[in-house]
Amino acid sequence: MPGIRVLVGTRKGGFILTSNARRKEWQVEGPLFAGWEIYHMKGSPLDPNRIYASQTSSWFGQIIQRSDDGGKTWFQPGSVDEEPVVDEISGFPKGESNKFVYDTSDETGRPLTTHQFYDGTQHPWKFLRVWHLEPSLTEPNTVFAGVEDAALFRSTDGGTTWQELAGLRGHKTGPDWSPGAGGMCLHTIVIDPNNAQRMFVAISAAGTFRTEDGGESWTAINQGLHSEYIPDPKAEVGHCVHRVAIHPSNPNVLFMQKHWDVMRSDDGGDSWYEVSGNLPTDFGFPIAVHAHEPETIYVVPITSDSLHYPPEGKLRVYRSRSGGREWEALTEGLPQENCYVNILRDAMAVDTFESCGIYFGTTGGQVYGSTDSGDHWQTIVRDLPPVLSVEVQMLP
């Protein structure tokens, strides 16, 4: 019987929630990597046993973990006893899977320039952590990593070694990028399901970028965004994009939750227009698209950039069945009083069952799920550490 795995990254470890197609009873496993921040876990769409995890700590740095048995066991792919990547001089394993070094080589790299810092000074790029891992849709051992300070890395050996796709960091606007409150992070990677060479990434606070050549060169695609918190609200870059989502059937239509504003593009990001419509507030972090209805989208409005909790203490997912502008509140099964949690940008996902499931996690440690496109919700688990990310992996 087909099943589902919901991968939950939290401030204090990872959790795996497993169920069958009915999605009524859930098995909760965890915490994995207890005590570490698990910024993101994501399963391969090509191999239901393959899961990647970004394990990070402000004390001890970045660790990449991989499971090849559906999360039962984990290993650091660069430190496997059987196949270590060995240093030619010392003969010792190199622990390469945790090594993210900006590419400044003459052949493929870009000079390590500076970017704007909080105080307005220029600051050299410095690697801090992996925010997002995106397995390839076509190559089983290829996976992309979005990192802070903002850059895109790729591994073609299952996370054993990582190479920067330096064209993005080397974009002519790079020196104008600046960190948001959460750091200067590349947090969103969207791969065109019909064309592996075409990808979209989003950076806080630079904006959205598109490549048509597998990451070698990039175009800033922020025309139409309007951000009052930057000196030129319509600048080419500087926008705090929180999340971008597409539907596989039409990868030219992009949906965006920005710092403020819910936006839409019908031309692959070349231009954007606002579809916030009747939302009670258009501030928020995640945005997701229904698995089978390309014009059905979901957001979770948050009061404001100063008040990171739902308006009126009511946790409401908003759904638009018209691709934006007209929104309806989904509340059944969600707390409608005294709820002051946040839902972070990577903490919402959909499944692909016939009756589409939606899942999201909160900073209060709840994970909610709906098996009917959001009409009704159930609490799958509560009282976890603050949830950083939620992803779905379908099981055959």
Binding site: G35, W36, S57, S58, W59, F60, G61, Q62, I63, Q76, G78, S79, P84, S90, F92, P93, K94, G95, N98, K99, V101
Partner: protein, 111 residues
């Protein structure tokens, strides 16, 4: 080169090392560990020995490339804070002799 000649050319000693919980978990070890460290015993030679034996710890105590100490990691030895000492300065004799452990400590942070 014979084993004894090699040992003479590359003298080593056993250093006791204490790591924080999260690094022990990553390395799959319990409690204090014993490391064979090249002489002279310095912070650098201890960390080299640690990373050679436990490659999964590369990057966790110091940067992969620059070998700069991670900001929230501290080094204690013989009741001294040696965090800011030059990594090539010989450590106290008590560390080289094994009578005291070299300690890698996660900086206190809480509220």
């Amino acid at each position: 080169m014979s084993d004894s000649a090699q040992a003479a050319a590359n003298p080593r000693c056993a250093v006791r090392l204490v790591m924080p919980h999260h690094l022990r978990t990553l390395a799959s070890v319990d409690g204090e560990i014993l490391l064979e460290v090249s002489l002279p015993v310095t912070t650098r030679s201890v960390l080299n020995a640690l990373e050679q034996r436990f490659p999964m710890l590369r990057g966790t105590v110091r940067d992969h490339v620059t070998h700069q100490r991670r900001p929230k990691v501290r080094f204690y030895a013989n009741e001294l804070d040696l965090t800011h000492q030059d990594p090539d300065t010989p450590l106290p004799e008590a560390i080289a002799s094994g009578s005291k452990p070299f300690m890698i400590v996660g900086a206190i942070s809480g509220g």
